[in-house]
């Protein structure tokens, strides 16, 4: 038994050493990776860079040190290795050009399905304008967001550009108070984003359909949207809400740049949800409290709030019926109908169409009304069950009294 184990171990060792031999043979082939290339001169001094680089996507694609830095990697002495077209630490502008030399070439990028307009986009961005036109060294270059050597794909959860990591990547600079003070910019974007609807979706629910910074500002072409563009930006995802907004009285001035569109009520990075009970009050921040428009706001508040309460009551009624053993498939179906109308209310309120709101409110109430009536009838039925106790205890007590008298009589 033990001998067999030793034999197996020996066989394993032999197999492993044979495997090592195969690896050495492969290393001699032209398609070798940096980490396995013992003749590579750069790693004599830059082992840390090699280690980082070898974990990135570029190493996987066969890119080598000299492809970006030039020099002669077959040399082991610094003067000889750094000879010729050699770039040790490219400047920020040189970095952009260096990356673009491959990333703007459709023939090289086609195989990876990557777009080749990053440089063109970058030039239009605020970052690009500062760096490329004003030569401002505060502005970020490619390697500030993507790292210089350890470049991971966006699908890698450790990458700086993985969806839930993007806000942190942007915040490296945008939370730097002294840096942002120079440009008169706030530093609370990440803080507000984190607690907002989008932040909760991305960080807590891991819903990567929700936008991070780049969803609204763009990535390489990062710029704050112009006032007239705000509703278009939000409308990329909130299609129906944007359409309803354009249909309403706010739509036209917002498109003309006279109103700040969605962020006027919901704020920008905080993407605040407006609780139904605050709708009317919110309108009075722009409209006079006595005005007709404020009255419309309070009417919407009334409709939405009432529908919400009706829905909540219907949900409680359904839970109660289910807990008491009643089959509730019909009621749940009605609840879904009411809930659909309630969600449509959320859309229609952006168009300020009171007539449509009233109609949807009625739809919610008619469905929830039936659910509640059913629940009340069932509750009454269950209450009537308690009446069984009257004859039960009447009979029981009569029997006990009879038995007590009889037993007393027998005891004498």
């Amino acid at each position: 038994m033990i001998g067999g184990g030793v034999l197996l171990t020996l066989v394993g060792v032999v197999a492993a050493s044979e495997g090592g031999g195969i690896t050495a043979t492969r290393a001699a082939l032209p398609q070798r990776s940096v980490s396995q290339d013992s003749t590579y001169g750069c790693i004599v001094c830059h082992a840390d860079k090699r280690r980082a680089f070898s974990q990135g996507v570029h190493a996987e694609r066969g890119i080598r040190c000299e492809d970006c830095h030039g020099g002669d990697p077959s040399q082991y002495e610094t003067p000889a290795a750094h000879r010729g077209r050699f770039v040790g630490s490219p400047t920020k502008r040189e970095t952009v050009e260096l990356c673009a030399s491959c990333h703007s070439d459709p023939n090289q990028m086609r195989q990876y399905g990557l777009s080749v307009d990053q440089l063109a986009e970058f030039r239009t961005s605020r970052h690009g304008q500062l760096l490329m036109e004003q030569r401002n060294r505060d502005a970020p270059t490619c390697t500030d967001c993507h790292h210089a050597h350890l470049i991971r794909p966006a699908s890698d959860a450790r990458s700086e550009i993985y969806p839930s990591n993007i806000p942190g990547t942007c915040a490296v600079c945008h939370e730097n108070a002294s840096l942002m003070a120079k440009y008169g910019m706030p530093t609370d974007q990440l803080e507000r984003f984190t607690v907002g609807a989008h932040g909760v979706a991305v960080f807590e629910k891991r819903n990567f359909a929700a936008p991070t910074c780049i969803g609204c500002h763009g990535s390489h072409a990062a710029l704050p949207p112009a006032v007239a563009e705000i509703t278009h930006v939000c409308g990329k995802c909130h299609v129906l809400l944007a359409r309803a907004f354009y249909e309403g009285p706010h739509g036209e001035p917002a498109q003309a740049g006279g109103l700040s569109g969605c962020v006027g009520c919901h704020s920008n990075h905080g993407t605040e949800r407006i609780p139904p009970e605050q709708i009317g009050e919110l309108c009075t921040t722009c409209h006079d409290a006595e005005s007709r428009m404020a009255a419309v706001g309070f009417e919407i508040e009334e409709q939405v709030g009432r529908a919400g309460e009706e829905l909540a009551a219907a949900a409680v009624a359904i839970d109660e019926m289910a807990a008491n053993g009643r089959e509730t498939a019909d009621d749940r179906f009605r609840y879904q109908a009411a809930f659909t109308a309630y969600q449509q209310l959320a859309k229609v309120q952006h168009s300020l169409d009171l007539e449509q709101l009233e109609e949807l409110g009625r739809e919610v109430r008619s469905n929830t009304g039936i659910i509640r009536a059913t629940a009340e009838a069932y509750a009454e039925e269950r209450w009537e069950h308690k009446l069984v106790l009257i004859p039960v205890w009447f009979l029981a007590l009569s029997a006990l009294v009879f038995a007590w008298f009889k037993l007393r009589e027998l005891g004498r």
């Binding site: 970095t95 210089a148 050597h149 942190g168 053993g325 009643r326 069950h385």
Partner: protein, 437 residues
């Protein structure tokens, strides 16, 4: 005319006598077979005489109200059988139909709600009644020779009652029953050596599923009732054969009461007459028990949780059975070791008749037994009350490995992880170089 009537009368009497003669022996045989009658009854004893004889039966004078829990247990068992049979007419033991059929029983079938809640409450009350009966037997030393066999039969009956509850618990097929059974089978699987095979055999699958439901249903309505009836027959026969145990401070006079409850010839009759005194007392207790059970069923119906869903761990498990409350309180208050020790204490009661065989019946002379018994019975009651007050969260919620082991994905009801916005990870190199960060 008169002659004709006489002839008809004579003919009818003849027929009646013939029928009696041919049925008496078989009826007696049946009665004896199921243990209703015991004594020197044979073919020559007519059934009306047998009835009169049993009515003349007298119980020993020490038999009193404290002997009621035994009878109450039997009454509750009968109620459970009747309500169970009524529900079996509607219940369907399959994953798809179990829950809807329970809904049908509760909300559609006539008086189905009462039948089901009565079944549920009697299943709880029977545990209390069994323990009360056991406590009386224990403290009065009624387990001592020659009645030690009946103590062991009684313990088997206790396990049968517990098995009834455990198997019936799953049948509503709602979230609480599903996950409680999951937890219990997980716990059973952790018992060394035998645990895993037992849990696997009960489960019939890698998680509680349709196979488990079928197994539990078969045990609950086919296997366990037969075992229970057989053990009950034996239990009652032994009670009649050995007589009711004497009071703690008196000698065992069972020999005098043993055979038929009558005294030796010529002795003045003593004891409590079975009819009408004892029957009336039993009747009172039965009426009161039924009224209480119906009241509990009407006022505190067993709520149905959502239908069982192996993919959604509920936030809360509501216990609906006394032993579950007790186990919960034990594990929360005394930890696993406390649970193990208490269980050991309960199991050690099995050995009592083997160890405590002396003639002493007075409680003060049996301090060790009295302490053990008091700890177990009072502890059980206290733990039941404590368990009711404790809200239960499925232990699997905190035992990640147990969930993973069974490959059950945690549903949306699980607590969301505390997620902080991630920062880019520090790279394994110096960041002070131009271009690099």
């Amino acid at each position: 005319m008169r002659r004709t009537l006489n002839a008809v009368h004579g003919w009818l009497v003849g027929v009646w006598e013939d029928i009696k003669a041919s049925t008496d022996s078989s009826l007696l045989g049946m009665a004896r077979f199921v243990g209703l009658l015991y004594g020197p009854i044979d073919r020559s004893l007519r059934i009306d005489l047998a009835l009169r004889k049993s009515l003349r039966y007298r119980l020993a004078p020490q038999v009193g109200w404290r002997h009621a829990p035994g009878g109450v247990t039997y009454l509750l068992f009968i109620v459970l059988v009747v309500t169970g049979v009524l529900m079996a007419a509607y219940y369907r033991p399959s994953v798809e139909e179990a829950y809807p059929s329970v809904q049908h029983i509760v909300s559609e079938a006539r008086f189905g709600w009462l039948v089901r809640d009565l079944h549920y409450w009697c299943a709880n009350l029977i545990v209390i009644a069994v323990l009360a009966h056991m406590a009386r037997v224990f403290f009065e030393a009624a387990y001592k020779p020659p009645r030690e066999t009946n103590w062991l039969i009684g313990l088997l009956l206790l396990f049968v009652v517990l098995a009834f509850g455990a198997t019936g618990y799953l049948l509503p097929w709602d979230q609480w029953s599903y996950w409680t059974v999951t937890e219990v089978l997980n716990a059973v699987a952790h018992i060394p050596l035998v645990g895993r095979p037992i849990a696997d055999a009960a489960m019939g699958d890698v998680i509680p599923s349709g196979a488990t439901l079928s197994r539990f249903f078969a045990l609950h309505v086919i296997v366990l009732p037969w075992i229970a009836f057989a053990l009950l027959g034996y239990h009652f026969t032994l009670v009649r054969r050995r007589g009711i145990a004497p009071a703690m401070d008196s000698e065992d006079e069972a020999a005098r009461w043993r055979s038929s409850g009558k005294h030796e010839p010529g002795e003045k009759p003593q004891g409590v007459p079975f009819f009408p005194t004892h029957l009336l007392r039993s009747f009172s207790v039965a009426v009161l028990t039924l009224a209480v059970a119906i009241t509990l069923a009407v006022l505190f119906p067993r709520v149905l949780a959502d239908p069982a869903d192996p993919y959604a761990l509920p936030d809360e498990l509501v216990s609906t059975w006394v032993p579950v409350d007790v186990s919960l309180a034990l594990i929360r208050l005394a930890g696993p070791w406390g649970f193990a020790l208490f269980t050991l204490l309960g199991v050690s009661l099995v050995l009592i008749p083997l160890l405590d065989r002396g003639p002493e019946r007075r409680l003060r002379r049996r301090p060790i037994v009295a302490t053990l018994g008091l700890t177990f019975f009072v502890g059980y009651l206290a733990l039941w009350i404590a368990g009711r007050a404790i809200g239960s969260v499925p232990p699997s919620a905190s035992l990640g490995e147990a969930v993973e082991e069974r490959a059950v994905p945690v549903g949306s009801s699980a607590r969301p992880p505390q997620v902080q916005p991630a920062r880019p990870a520090a790279a394994p190199e110096n960041a002070d170089e131009g271009g690099g960060r």
